[in-house]
Amino acid sequence: MSTGDSDQIADRTTRAEQPQPQPQPNTSSSVTPAALPSLSADPAALPSLAAVQLACKRGTRLLFKGLDLAVESGQMVWVRGQNGRGKTSLLRLVAGLSTPEEGQVLWGGVPVRRAPGYCPQLVFIGHTNALKDDLTVTEALEFLLRLHGRHHGSALLQAGLERMGLQARRGAMVRTLSQGQRRRVALTRLALEETPSTWILDEPFDSLDVQGVERLNGLLSGHVKRGGRVLLTSHQNLDTSVLQPREVDLDGYC
């Protein structure tokens, strides 16, 4: 009797800990968090990123609940929904900046806040650009790259700026730039990515001109092709001839 009870409990715990379709055929509970960092070091076998039964509350208002979302390698997910539906909140949850009301966001089966390999490979660009007005374009970018352990020399950085059409402004103070130019500087971080990392982008197309949108489209499709993941929101319609996003509509989860 008591043996049966404990078996049941053990079974329930295993299921609660691993409610996701496993990335490996490994069904026993031998997947330990300690084994994961070595996994994430190999870009060919990046851990899975999935949200399970996510619910989000802002104040007393429930924004969405019961949201299941998996972002596969080489996939782009476009989060849609009306204003105030919780798109930004969802992105912040997935990035690990906030904790969900219910459910969890898992990176290889471990909640993102505790997964050691998650942050170093993540690129999160929110609706703010994280650029300091009193630094030059190069200095501001250099700081962000250093912070994220991605600074591999100024030649690469200049090449990235050139790719975003900013080479003439590289010595300018950030405060002298227009909104669109600031956005381009922030997005230059994407141009310097070479690994199939996870990109979480909040309205990346905001205030970009036609040429800027084209360059960002190029970066996004290139990233998806090399097996990276993209999770983004956008009010503008995406150019489906270049990008093939999977759509998630938050209006269906409230």
Partner: protein, 222 residues
């Protein structure tokens, strides 16, 4: 760990250099506040000598509180703070780097200028030395406690007043033993005991304040 610390520390110093006037304001406040006392209290050297350590310490405390307001607020507003917490470096590293930068920009100049103000109050050489050492041990504590207060009140209205109300009571031990060291040496005793307690307080603050501030930052960003 090391790379994140250096990146944040170097950036904060560079930003302070770009806004020199703003960075100097707490020092100017210190200078003005300290020089008001002889005018208000009267010119008797004996009295001034007696109250000097207390005045210098209290003004240093207020100057540190004044400047700590903006420690995280600007980074919070422009999204830099999010980037720092998502960088894979622990929150403690970020907090430690920012508190160090704050001390370098405001605490260190206070320590260096304190002897000048001691002269203004007719303090003798030994007492000046003790005052400087007590400030050297005490001001890092003020930066760390202020950083904790700033993290707790991030995003709140009237955060400035709240920080002062939260942090001033916590800094009372530093004030007591800082001024006590000078009083001890003036009455012919050794200041070593006071130094030891200040050092112990500093170590305790180094061990606890960054942890608490990092947790508070996480909560503020929710």
């Amino acid at each position: 760990m090391g790379a994140g610390f250096v990146a944040v520390y170097a950036r904060d110093l560079r930003l302070a250099m770009r806004r020199r006037i703003e960075a100097l304001l707490p020092i100017v406040f210190f200078v003005v506040a300290v020089s008001l006392f002889p005018l208000g209290v009267g010119p008797e050297p004996q009295m001034l000598r007696q109250i000097a350590p207390g005045i210098v310490w209290v003004c240093a405390l207020l100057a540190a509180m004044m400047s700590v307001n903006n420690l995280y607020a600007a980074d919070y507003a422009d999204g830099s703070l999010e980037q720092m917490l998502l960088s894979g470096h622990s929150g403690v590293t970020i907090v430690a780097a920012k508190a160090c930068a704050h001390w370098t920009v405001t605490g260190l100049p206070l320590v260096l200028s304190a002897p000048l103000f001691g002269l203004l109050f007719d303090m003798d050489g030994t007492a000046l030395g003790v005052l400087t050492i007590s400030l050297l041990l005490g001001t890092p504590m003020l930066s760390l406690l202020g950083s904790f207060g700033a993290a707790l009140t991030l995003g709140l209205r009237s955060a400035g007043v709240l920080i002062v109300l939260l942090v001033l009571p916590l800094s009372i031990p530093a004030l007591i033993f800082g001024t006590g060291a000078v009083a001890a040496v003036e009455s012919g005793l050794s200041p070593a005991g006071h130094y030891s307690i200040l050092g112990a307080l500093l170590i305790f603050t180094i061990l606890t304040a960054p942890l608490a501030a990092a947790a508070a930052l996480r909560i503020s960003l929710e």
